[in-house]
């Protein structure tokens, strides 16, 4: 801490419980007022984009889990869709419905962790316990699908890693029930809680113009009153078949972002209900020999499948020269994969447009001129995962 004539410079983080990881913010304070806030990033930088350049497309996919580790399926989906766009692969209908169901499940997962930690930052400890209690049913579903609780890598290029488990439908219906009950608990605890309202209303305000100029996306953008959701605007993986609302805020403050995220959980449940009710039958992977891995059952009994499997794992597939971009709406905002193929079997460049990184750029604008105690609330309301910010 150093003193100048008027202001005090205070270092916050990187090891600080309410920075959601290893975010460091250098704050310049005039008394209790923040004059300048400067985020310092890179403590978790692992060069994922560079790593992916040296891997075959199938082997680059697990890297995406490690970015936003609270929403692995969304990242898998974004990367898979981008590669499928590059290779022009048509996806079976059942896979699309399962993907929608899992992407919404992931949104709930991401929002629940956010809700718990954000409330914890503001002093409501029991909220964290409720959120993690209900999240348990979701990670158990992940385990049933992909075999892991967090780094699932379940959504693969051309389909899914394996067929959905036998009790998928039962499990999803159970989750819908659990989260529906849980939502009542959360809303009773927070929505009309005077302390929570005092801590969040009018904090971290961003107008619609500022939000667009800062390239924000997801609940950050919608909280400021801009009705933009890629699921509605540019539907992917069959979202046009589902009926749901896009909640929009008015004031652009932390409280609006809270109400939007809670409402989004509700809408996600609605989409999951539709997906599970109308789930079609079919294969769990597209049949495109030479590009999409053959199903495991075939690999064990058919020679051609065995050869394709071996060739794909060792050599991969060659892409055309050209670049594609596929953006999807993850829980945190628009996560986009820009993949440039150069005619070889490895990506020439993979760029991930991560919502956390770009939304975090709004932090100085949200803090400057406001009270020091609101910095924690502002960071919380952005919903960042540092693995995704630093990559």
């Amino acid at each position: 801490m150093s003193n100048t004539a008027k202001t005090v410079t205070l270092n916050m983080g990187p090891q600080h419980p309410s920075t959601h990881g290893v975010l460091r913010v250098i704050l310049e304070l005039d008394g209790e007022t923040v004059v300048k806030a400067e985020p310092v990033l890179g403590y978790l930088h692992t060069g994922i984009e560079k790593t992916m350049e040296s891997k075959l497309y199938y082997k680059a996919l697990p890297c995406t889990d490690r970015m936003d580790y609270l929403a692995p399926m969304s990242n898998n989906l974004g990367f898979s869709l981008a590669v499928e766009k590059l290779m022009e692969i048509d996806i079976p209908e059942k896979v699309q419905w399962v993907r929608v169901c899992l992407a919404e499940l992931t949104r709930i997962n991401s929002h629940l962790v956010w809700l718990g930690t954000h409330a914890l930052d503001l002093g409501a400890m029991s909220m964290l316990l409720y959120a993690f209690r209900d999240r348990e049913s979701i990670v158990e579903m992940y385990e049933a699908c992909g075999g892991q609780r967090m780094m699932t890598t379940y959504i693969r290029i051309g389909g899914l890693a394996q067929d959905i488990p036998k009790d998928f439908e039962k499990g999803i219906r159970n989750i819908i029930k659990v989260i529906n009950n849980g939502l009542n608990d959360y809303e009773t605890l927070l929505t009309n809680n005077e302390i929570f309202i005092n801590r969040t209303k009018g904090v971290g305000v961003l107008t619609a113009e500022e939000a667009i100029s800062l390239s924000l996306s997801g609940p950050m953008l919608r909280g400021s009153g801009v009705k933009h959701d890629l699921r509605k605007a540019n539907p992917y993986t069959g979202y046009e078949n589902f009926d749901f609302e896009v909640p929009v805020g008015q004031n652009g403050d932390a409280y609006d972002r809270y109400t939007i995220r809670v409402e989004e959980i509700r809408q996600s449940l609605k989409i999951m209900q539709q997906a599970i009710d109308g789930m079609p039958e079919g294969p769990y992977r597209a049949h495109v020999p030479g590009i999409v891995l053959p199903p495991k059952e075939d690999v064990l009994y058919k020679m051609e499948s065995m050869i394709f499997h071996f060739k794909l794992i060792t050599e991969g597939f060659k892409t055309p020269v050209g670049s594609v971009y596929q953006g999807i709406e993850s829980g945190k905002g628009e996560i986009g994969f820009f993949i440039s193929g150069d005619g070889t079997n490895k990506p020439h460049r993979v760029r991930v447009r991560t919502p956390s990184f770009i939304n975090l750029a709004a932090l100085p604008k949200m803090c400057e001129g406001n009270m020091f105690s609101d910095v924690v609330c502002a960071i919380g309301s952005i919903d960042i995962v540092l693995g995704e910010v630093d990559r």
Partner: protein, 171 residues
Amino acid sequence: MEDKLREFFNNNFKDAVIKEDKFRGDVSYYIKPESLFAICEALLADSSLDVKFLSDITSLDWLNHEEEKNGRFEVVYNLYSISNRYRFFLKVRLDGENPNVKSLVDLWDGADWMEREVFDMMGIIFEGHPNLTKILTADELDGHPLRKDFTLTWEQPKFTWNLDDPPEVIK
């Protein structure tokens, strides 16, 4: 929207556009770097196109590739129109010796961090950027990691060992 955009470029910036390209439904315009700022300014001012959202800035390195003849570096601007639900790309090619292009921070606040990241990872200079410093990599790191000629066998900052100073066991 696609026709409107082509009309916009034909009417105002006929000389600035090098090539129009459509690949897998993604429309991109290769433009001259010196007219980038003017084009973005005009796009922001055009109310019918309503291109207000700068989604992303990224860059490519075409070293030792056939594409290198058009310029080694490529900076990609990912623009989106919220009301028209339309995405397109502006691409500029820069030479390998002195890659620089005008910064868009004056037009979009969000360009600040995106340009800093491109500078950090690829070493492209954005002229007029108020604070063009490293953002993700360590302060001690020399070079720009996403360039194709970045040495991968050399660990920096050094935590373990590098090739020409092997640890005791290997000596």
